[in-house]
Amino acid sequence: MGYIIKTTDLTKKFGNLTAVNKLNITVERGEVFGLLGPNGAGKTTAISMLSTILKPTSGTATVNGFDIVKQPAQVRKSIGMVFQDPSVDDRLTGRENLVMHANLYGVSTNEQKKRIKAVLRLVELEDRADNLLRTYSSGMRRRLEIARGLIHYPRVLFLDEPTIGLDPQTREHIWTYISELGKREDITVILTTHYMEEADRLCDRIAIIDYGRIVVLDAPQNLKEKLEGEIITVKTKDAERLSEKLREAKLVEEIAAAGDRLRLKVRSGHTILPRIVEMAASSGIYIEYVSLHEPDLGDVFLHYTGRAIRPEGGEEYHGFTAIRRRQMR
């Protein structure tokens, strides 16, 4: 048995809304598996079903060989969970929260001290461990929750947006720890994230989901390679007119617009970039800024979902790519 999680037509409906739609995923033992998707794509719902918090409307899944519907207790014994939203008791101290967790998961008292010390060092909360959680900043609470999820060594660790709202240094620490954890035998990590960089760095395989369905599933490297060519970003006040011109000239493969910015997918950036600038200049379109880069996972995401992920809110790429996608099929 090479896999640890296998979902079969896993579906969850909330009234009319289908949050997860016939999801079929197989997660290999020991891999770091990423679930990527825009807000409301169904990532958290999928994880909630796999961790037995929600009951599937139809379909099922096995985790570590146990059925999530028929054997929820065994499933819960096999998993660890770091939630997206806070789930700590703020009237207790950091250490008390950790001890409580260790007790709930049956970690022996001797082992507890060692592990708590280790995770507290990891998230750099040693000196605050005996303060009440209500005195912690939100970043500190987040760090404590991650520490907590690591105390019992689960077979499968679910991390729902693990580094959201963390400063770069802490994020770096957590990433290092997660990738080490993934290498350790018999621990499989399922990660949901908005951050392309995070998925790219940590995951062995990534499933991009949107509207409750898998859009694409592959290793990050393969996903990026499928997106041959390069990306040119142009900033101009005449974005609409420029994109019309570009489409007429058939210079670029794909156009996505967000406000005054155009994201263009091209085969060979170095030869096409000057021609775009030239064309703009001859049509009287003033370009404020232009850049050329290799496709990253953000572009992969944009390519498959028609929406760019913007974790801090703000602009989304809409429209053109979606139209373009229809034309390509």
């Binding site: 918090i53 207790a73 939630f83 009237r91 409580m100």
Partner: protein, 252 residues
């Protein structure tokens, strides 16, 4: 084994949270004293069936019952609180069974409520009701038994309700009838028969009457023999624990 540890862990958490709320403990003195000293002194009702009892002394066990009731029901809020602040999820994905989670929560909430009850019990000297060690040791387990069932009511309601506001509304909807119809404030020996029957359906009636018998001793004649009353309370507890466990174990 690990289930027991889970129950203990959750019990300890409730207790820690409670003891850290100094203001709640201090304010818990206030309401019973108001009832005993102001209400009890103002309404100088003669107590039928007993010549030696003053009204204040008569309602004293009733006020203990009221404290247990109100505190127990209030503890239901902790479930909603945990859900609101996300902590409930942390417990629900742990390997501990739903039944044990409910038991831990129930025992923790009951302990808090009984501590409040003990505080009121020890206030007996204010109205010249001496609480000897023997009375204390008899009253304590009875208070626990009374509390278990009441806490289960609060927790069961809370598992069906998602907002703090509607819990508050339903809470007073349950609290006041149970309190007024329990014989806490007036003896049931000379009430209209319909009221008597309604009171007989109220589980708190038996708790309050048994408590009164233990605390006031020979100056009070119980409605039924005390061991029947205690058995009734136990049966109520058992039923409520079953209902509560069921309510708590539902999964969406």
């Amino acid at each position: 084994m690990s289930e027991m540890r889970g129950v203990y862990t959750l019990w300890l958490r409730e207790l820690k949270r409670y003891t850290r709320e100094r203001t709640r403990i201090v304010s818990s003195f206030f309401q019973p004293i108001l009832w005993l000293v102001v209400f009890g002194a103002a309404i100088r009702l003669p107590i039928s069936g007993s010549t030696s009892l003053e009204y204040q002394q008569f309602i004293f066990p009733g006020i203990i019952g009221q404290t247990l009731l109100f505190t127990s029901m209030f503890m239901g809020i902790s479930v909603i609180w945990d859900r609101e602040f996300g902590f409930l999820k942390e417990i629900l994905v742990s390997p501990i069974s739903r039944g044990s989670i409910f038991l831990g929560k129930m025992l923790g909430a009951s302990t808090d409520a009984v501590i409040q009850g003990i505080i009121v019990l020890l206030l007996g000297f204010v109205i010249r009701v001496p609480v000897s060690a023997v009375i204390f040791l008899q009253a304590l387990p009875l208070m626990l038994l009374i509390t278990f069932g009441l806490v289960c009511i609060g927790l069961s309601i809370a598992s069906f309700i998602s907002s703090l506001e509607s819990f508050g509304a339903i809470q007073s909807f349950v609290n006041l009838p149970l309190f007024f119809l329990s014989g806490a404030l007036f003896p049931l020996s000379n009430v209209p028969s319909w009221l008597l029957w309604v009171s007989y359906v109220n589980p708190l009636t038996y708790g309050v009457d048994a408590l009164r018998t233990i605390i006031l001793g020979s100056s009070w004649t119980p409605l039924f023999p005390v061991h029947y009353e205690v058995l009734t309370v136990c049966a109520f507890d058992a039923a409520m624990i079953l209902i509560g466990t069921f309510a708590f174990s539902r999964r969406k």
